[in-house]
């Protein structure tokens, strides 16, 4: 049953009334009127009459001409497409009879513009039943919000890529078909998948979504600057203290005292804090990061969290840490422009940084710094990234196609391609044995650091990361807290306490409104 927009109906009625109201000019009887006794009563009748007679027409008219077809996939609503409209990447047209599915993703740049369309094209060419159409939806946050917005209007894709921290909310919204259903049905073998990665997306004993792209942050440094500052480029800093000392040595000032090269630059990105917290061996939320039982409060304001922000702030105050705001792109540009010697960034940007630094300086990569040496054995980085979800309000045929696509992208060959195009880890160990992948790691030894870091991380509640429904909110709250500390508005403890309180409130409200008890 479609809804009839009642005001459109009103509009049509009104216009029909206006037109009829103008009618009498054609019939020259203005002065003959008085004799007709019932005339004045017609006024109110006239206003109603068209309504009564035209109502059925009016209700249909807008529907036929304007109302969108809700059953069609979102792309079909664009009825008035001019012929010039060409999407960013070209996707080969669907074969006749193939089920078309939409795939929302958040991969910008070349990864989204080239790698994803190519993957989709290969999938479409590999079989006749399904046709996948990738649509870039902006950041993960944008994509999640749009998905939530689309749930009521059924404006949803069959498969969507969402970041790790959306996991709890996706499950609680009950809008997904867990991939576990298909795994069980088809006895699909997942033993080759990276255990740490599987552990992240397994909630209540079920794998809810299929990991797609995984990454974690590592230290990138400028080897040339290390040499110039008298540091050993083969021995990058491992602990917070070493990092701070190196940053001080790498910082350069001109005659007037103005800093020309900063030792380090961290973008104000909540993800970095989460990772530093995990390698420090601390939880983000209670109930073992919300993994034993759903979380009820934020606990990131412990001594480990405070230590991270204190360390960060000390370097900023010492003038060895550069602050270019929240956008990581500014940090990367400063690094590539050799205005800063060390940055923390995702393994996924490795290829971009390698290309950008080529011919300018030698790029080094190392493990994410930890508070002390002992932390290297206790914990590790969180294995997050993003995964693919099947949305359950799509027709069964679309969901089946979504699963086919998910299996396709998880194949070793596709994962190896994905790995070399982006720098995201393959989710499957077999991908490392693909010729393409072997060639890539041989060419860029820097990537070995990333793989080592992944395999060095023990699989425990720290490295599985927090699991809460309000994680996007929490991440933003942490970013605000970091800014408060860096801006000198609060001490690390004050800022984190305030943030923890706010996140706890959000968790409580979430649990209440979602009926989690």
């Amino acid at each position: 049953m479609k809804k009839v927009p009642y005001f459109l109906f009103v509009l049509v009625v009104v216009f029909s009334m206006l037109v009829t109201a103008c009618g009498p000019t054609a019939t020259p009887t203005p002065k003959a009127e008085p004799t007709k006794a019932q005339e004045p009563t017609k006024a109110p009748v006239a206003t109603k009459a068209p309504e009564a007679t035209k109502a059925p027409e009016a209700t249909k008219a807008p529907e036929a001409t304007k109302a969108p077809e809700p059953t069609k996939p979102p792309a079909a609503t664009a009825t008035a497409v001019p012929p010039t409209a060409v999407p960013t990447a070209t996707i080969a047209p669907a074969k006749a009879g193939a089920t078309k599915i939409a795939f929302w993703h958040s991969m910008g740049g070349d990864i989204g513009g080239k790698a994803i369309p190519q993957m989709a094209n290969e999938f479409n060419a590999s079989q006749d039943k399904c046709h996948v159409n990738p649509i870039y939806q902006g950041s993960y946050d944008d994509s999640l919000n749009k998905l939530k917005a689309g749930l009521q209007s059924k404006d949803t894709p069959a498969v969507v890529q969402l970041f790790d921290i959306g996991t709890r909310q996706m499950i609680d919204l009950k809008v997904i078909t867990p991939v576990q259903n298909y795994i069980d049905k088809e006895k699909y073998d997942i033993s080759d998948l990276e255990q740490n990665v599987l552990a992240y997306y397994t909630v209540d004993g079920k794998l809810n979504s299929m990991p797609f792209n995984t990454s974690n942050p590592m230290l990138y440094y400028n080897k040339d600057m290390f040499k110039a500052a008298g540091l050993d480029p083969a021995k990058p800093p491992r602990t917070f203290d070493e990092f701070k000392a190196a940053a001080a040595k790498l910082t350069k000032k001109d005659a007037s005292g103005k800093v020309t090269v900063y030792g380090a630059n961290f973008a104000i990105y909540g993800w970095f804090f989460e990772q530093f917290l995990a390698v420090s061996g601390a939880y983000y939320v209670d109930n073992a990061n919300g993994r034993d039982k759903f979380a009820t409060k934020a606990v990131f304001n412990g001594p480990e969290g405070v230590k991270i922000l204190t360390w960060w702030k000390e370097m900023l105050d010492a003038g060895t840490m550069m602050n270019t705001g929240r956008q990581t792109v500014n940090m990367r540009n400063a690094f590539l422009a050799q205005q800063t010697a060390m940055i923390i960034e995702s393994t996924a940007t490795l290829r971009g940084l390698l290309d950008g630094s080529a011919g300018k300086f030698e790029l080094g990569t190392a493990f994410l710094p930890r508070p002390d040496e002992a932390a290297f054995t206790k914990s590790g980085t969180i294995i997050g990234g993003a995964s693919l979800w099947i949305i359950n309000n799509r027709p069964q045929a679309e969901q089946d196609c979504a699963w086919e696509f998910i299996k396709f992208q998880a194949s070793p060959k596709q994962q190896a391609y994905w790995h070399t195009m982006s720098g995201y880890y393959p989710i499957r160990k077999a991908a490392y044995n693909e010729p393409l992948d072997k060639e890539w790691t041989a060419k860029y030894p820097q990537f070995q650091t990333a793989i080592d870091q992944l395999h060095a991380a023990p699989n425990n509640r720290y490295t599985q990361g927090g699991l809460i429904g309000v994680f996007p909110t929490a991440r933003q709250t942490i970013e605000t807290a970091i800014e408060e500390v860096l801006g000198g508005k609060s001490t690390p403890q004050q800022a984190l306490d305030k943030a923890a309180k706010s996140v706890t409130d959000a968790i409580v409200e979430y649990n209440l409104t979602m009926g989690l008890k």
Binding site: V10, L18, A21, G23, T41, K148, I268, R326, T480
Partner: protein, 311 residues
């Protein structure tokens, strides 16, 4: 049909006098003309306003479905957490940055544009071109000007031997930096309106002032400004309302940061419902925004308008 009948005799029908009949007819035909607008206003302004209020008395789940009726809890939360108070404070600060600077700069530009010189029309177009510029494009342009490592504003400061400013990066300067984008955007309209008002000042007044030996400053102070007072009032209202509703530059440039220093009211509403899924809480904020605007408008009409000069 009856609505077009020009006149009716003075006989009584259905207990109505002809005057009453004509009134009824006029009313109906007027209603007919207003109907499209009214239908849209009712659907998209008045009913939603009521629904905003209703929504503000609920807790909702993350996709906006009411979960629990909570009376005025959301309003209580507004005033108990410093997020809303901070937004309120920041919005006020933002208005105080933008409105006076906009009006002063526009006055300057309008005075220049009002000079009687050949080809002045070109300058007038330059001064008012920002009318045609959108918030999104302006924000992107300024983002590059403010850029922490390659921005040209810091380059100009360096040329002038002034220290670099951390425009959007520091919580101390970000609000001002965003305010300047708003000033720039609003300046076009302000200049145009002031210019038109200046051209409406009768020439004879200046001439008689000249005969009395008034200098340019006296003419400006004693004639131009008083004559512009009602225009200033108009601009004050328009600019304040626009400034309180600023959203685009925040969304494009700062996302409310650093440290919530640019988390203006409208952005906060957007963030709370669209991003954080707190529909009820955001609705309470939007009702507060409505009340503030209402009070401001009434206050201005009652207290400020009295003092302005009318022709």
């Amino acid at each position: 049909m009856a609505s077009s009948v020009p006149s009716l005799p003075a006989t009584k029908r259905f207990g109505l006098t002809s005057v009453q009949q004509r009134e009824a007819r006029n009313f109906l035909s007027a209603l007919l003309y207003m109907a499209p607008s009214l239908a849209l206003f009712i659907t998209f302004v008045f009913i939603p306003l009521v629904r905003s209020f209703v929504l503000s008395t609920y807790l909702t789940d993350p996709i906006g479905r009411p979960a629990a009726f909570v009376w005025f809890l959301q309003y209580q939360r507004l005033f108990n957490t410093d997020v809303f108070l901070n937004s309120l404070l920041r919005s006020t600060q933002f208005v105080l940055y933008t409105v006076p600077i906009t009006i002063l700069l526009s006055l300057g530009l309008a005075l220049l544009g009002n000079l009687r010189l050949p080809r002045i029309a070109i300058y007038r177009i330059m001064f008012s071109v920002t009318i045609a510029v959108s918030g999104a494009t302006a924000s992107l342009m300024f983002m590059y000007l403010y850029h922490p490592t390659v921005g040209s504003l810091n380059y100009f400061l360096e040329l002038l031997k002034l220290p670099a400013v951390p425009w959007l990066v520091s919580d101390k300067t970000a609000l001002f930096s965003v305010a300047m984008v708003s000033v720039w955007l609003q300046m076009g309209l302000n200049t145009v309106i002031l210019l038109a008002a200046m051209q409406g000042i009768p020439e004879e007044i200046y001439e008689s002032a000249m005969i009395d030996g008034a200098n340019s400053w006296q003419k400006f102070w004693n004639i131009t400004l008083p004559f512009l007072s009602s225009t200033f009032f108009f601009l004050l209202v328009v600019d304040m309302l626009a400034s309180f509703q600023t959203f685009t530059p925040i969304h494009v440039m700062t996302s409310g940061g650093p440290a919530d220093s640019t988390n203006l009211l409208v952005f906060s509403i957007y963030r709370e419902f669209y991003f954080n899924g707190k529909y009820g809480y955001a609705a309470a904020q939007s009702i507060m925004l409505f009340l503030i605007m209402l009070i401001l408008t009434i206050f201005q009409f009652v207290f400020v308008e009295r003092k302005v000069y009318y022709e």
